[in-house]
Symmetry: C2
Subunit: 511 residues, 2 copies
């Protein structure tokens, strides 16, 4: 008896010293088998319950990813529910917003949403915002900068609402599905991963609730608070739409061929090189045109980064590209491949392009091919605001990859219809000229004076090197000096650079 | 001119409002190709540099994983370097410690190390500690509880030193390797993942430094501060040693067969069931004996958890087990499988067994088979301290899986030589009796009175159901009443339960 008391006393003393309590034996073994447990103890709730239980309050920040691009159904669904529940003054921090998010206009008008952070805006929503819809300017960040801002706490997310193509009742989620007939797949969930890691509460929204364990997966239950089952999270057929559609435009194909020649002769086309192609028909197509040269010269790429497309998947399967590093699957072939191929690796936006991340993939990138709405004579690039002053694009990883790659190539026609693309000064500065090496147009190739060795190599290969000033003048000769834009005095957008500084502002457009 | 000033002023104003600076265009494009960049800009440093740059100070907490088990070389290497550098009063928070860590005795004597947290201790180090080597008691936690304590901040890790079988210069690390001749592989790095996630600084130590990108991987560069290349991190041939050796002992095989009969007749042997086998020959072997019955009855397991062995890999490849969830690969076959098989999923210790993690895999576990050093008449189990009072084991996931599973089965011989295994009161309490359902001995099967329905099913199947009190008396009849242990008054170990309370203390042993 004394012995037992001694032991109990020693346990008490040890616990007190550690500031802990002692164990109380009130355990009751349940003995419920897994399949029954799954029904009674899961994270599955309705959207309304998830919102209530998340502790979301007026004025807080909610986040979304854009992996379904034009097919996304999550943003509209969640914000409609929030409106119905009477929320006000919410801040939407999306990785990007598309045409499909037009219903946000009404939610902004009604005060449900009063701030936006995004990589891009398109369609009617962009148009309304350009005309001064919001009191607060939209904050535009690159994909890498968004990840950094989230990690740093600069962009604090209260509740993340993340669409997933499959999820089990505990929250193991993916952008693909092992079900026989998955409803919606989007592949990599790369842009959603910083949200899953750092948001205070994480809600997975899925249209394919599968049995535990949903492995492999990309978001762990460890990070998930609620799971909501809905009819549909997105339309997969619309992933490869808009800016990432496969091009049939002859001018885009010409530009892609020229870009391929630049790559091949740049000095960076060596065994073990790495490459990314940004959105835009010409840049996506360029990789097709280096394939033959790779086979001929026995050159293999170490990795392709992106923005992974069916072309890249094919070249990987042929052994021409060793690894695919995928922050966003640009089509359904890529979305399937990220599920099936172990060397097709899904990465988060921070692993992809964060400037303050020593190991982000962009830091190791040799070649990137990017598109542009405008390039100016100082090699500055605009991919966000049209020459009419209206927002119609997205920053994406443009400034991240341009700055970090060994060679950044911009493909850009001289004119789009009556709109000049090579201009005196970009309407909005997105990618500083110091980070742009080569501009490929259908009238010749301009090389940044900072990179004379690249110009020399291209010249030696017989490529036509031109001056951006001459291109600009050529454009002006054809269509005349562009009229000044009727900007107002209201700041409707702030463009952040990837070092967390303010790079530019976007003013409201009048009329 | 005025226009430009306006724009600059608006940028200034927008930045000021946001509390940000404005962009300064001092960017200088480097243009270094990836392969050269890899040489000049990586996280690779010497061990000494990693330690210095980590900011480690006397009195801080360092951590290690035990995936190489008896073959581990990292702990001794790092602590020897820390001793050489003059560090004092360090706290080692290892996921477990083995015989091979005997050199820690000297480091404890010399004041380099003054606190230990671990799941287990074995060999000479355990013996010395049991005899009072340390001033501070060792804190023992289960694998699930360690993960919870790390996440909660209760076990704050200043610097984690994590051995990896492959790593690129940026820190993408794995317990396997794609190199032609990998030096050391250990498979899952599950116990290292909470450390990688929550430690202030993370040092990867590898003997296979590969080109970026080392994909797929289990630890992301995103979490890694330094990479250290060494000659060898571990001896893979010693992974399947000690407590997880494949048994040839006839009594273990008998126990395994009996455990298989319990499983088959328990009511939990249904299509879609899940199973884990803990360390110890008999429990590991049990899965072999349910295989035939699974084939015969057309039953497939939904997942096997653990502690994955070659047997489980084989049954997975045969289609009998749908998913493998692997926190620790118990042999080289499993270590290779986690690399090659997409349905063999590596999980962190929190995803495995954290009590406060709604979605940890143990919560969904139907059946677990565990071993024991001692079981007492109240179904309490001891797996840590020998009947001689000397520490000689590890908590592992024992209390986690016993508590969370629908059916926990302990396999335990009545006697080991002259040592009784069924006793009146366990020397040290590790797994409370309320969480133990069945005890299988070679003299019959005891069922916890809390689970009469299980006893009924086993009886109906013709299995011999016995009372633990009768077994205890039977043991006493053979070898007599065990002598009282010569415990002293010093607390050498504190056993935590998975709810963060103090469960028991271990006293020093005299003589």
């Amino acid at each position: 008896m004394n012995k037992i008391n001694d032991r109990a006393a020693m346990i008490e003393a040890a616990a007190a010293k550690m500031g802990k309590k002692t164990f109380v034996d009130d355990l009751k073994k349940v003995g419920t088998p897994r399949l029954e447990y799954q029904k009674t103890c899961s994270k599955v709730v309705t959207l309304e319950e998830a919102i209530r239980q998340s502790g979301l309050k007026d004025g807080m920040t909610i986040s979304f990813h854009h992996h379904f691009r034009g097919g996304d159904k999550v943003v509209n669904m969640v914000v409609a529910k929030l409106a119905e529940m009477g929320f006000k003054n919410l801040h939407i921090a999306a990785s990007s917003l598309q045409d499909v998010h037009k219903p946000l206009i009404e939610h902004i008008r009604n005060g449900v949403v009063n701030r936006l952070s995004t990589s891009g805006l398109r369609g009617e929503l962009a148009n309304e915002i350009s005309h001064g819809l919001m009191d607060e300017p939209v904050v535009f960040r690159s994909h890498g900068d968004r990840a950094s801002a989230i990690k740093r706490g600069d962009l604090h997310i209260d509740v993340a609402f993340l669409g997933a193509s499959s999820c089990d009742p505990l929250g193991n989620a993916a952008g693909y599905s092992r079900s026989e007939n998955p409803k919606s797949i989007c592949g990599s969930l790369g842009y959603a991963l910083p949200d899953a890691e750092y948001a205070d509460k994480v809600v997975i929204i899925t249209d394919d609730l599968v049995d535990y364990p949903n492995t492999p997966n990309s978001i762990s239950e460890h990070k998930v608070d609620f799971v909501v089952e809905v009819e549909s999270v997105g339309d997969s057929s619309k992933i490869a739409s808009g800016a990432i559609r496969d091009t049939k435009n002859p001018r885009d194909i010409l530009l892609a061929q020229q870009a391929a020649k630049v790559i091949i002769n740049s000095g960076y086309f060596k065994d073990g090189f790495s490459i990314q192609t940004g959105s835009g028909g010409a840049s996506l197509a360029a990789v097709k045109f280096i394939r033959e040269s790779m086979i001929e010269k026995g050159i293999k790429a170490n990795y392709a980064l992106g923005g992974i497309t069916a072309h890249m998947v094919k070249m990987h399967e042929e052994g021409l590209i060793k690894r695919l590093i995928d922050v966003q699957s640009f089509d359904k072939v890529a979305a399937e491949s990220v599920k099936n191929n172990e060397f097709h690796k899904e990465v988060s936006a921070s692993e992809y392009a964060a400037a303050d991340e020593q190991g982000s993939a962009t830091h190791y990138l040799d070649i990137v091919i990017l598109s542009a709405l405008e390039v100016d004579v100082d090699f500055n690039v605009n991919v966000l605001v049209g020459s009419d002053g209206i927002i119609r694009g997205a920053i994406g990883g443009h400034p991240d990859t341009a700055a970090d790659s060994a060679l950044s190539i911009i493909v850009c026609p001289l004119l789009r219809g009556r709109i000049p693309c090579v201009v005196d000064k970009v309407t909005t500065l997105i990618t500083p000229g110091a980070t742009v090496d080569v501009v490929v147009t259908e009238y010749g190739i301009a090389v940044n004076p900072r990179r004379p060795e690249v110009a020399e190599r291209l010249r030696a290969a017989g490529l036509k090197i031109v001056d951006l000033n001459d291109l600009k003048e050529r454009a002006e000769k054809i269509i005349g000096q562009p009229a000044e834009l009727p900007f107002g005095e209201k700041v409707v957008g702030v463009v952040m650079y990837r070092d967390n500084t303010v790079l530019d502002v976007i003013r409201n457009i009048q009329g």
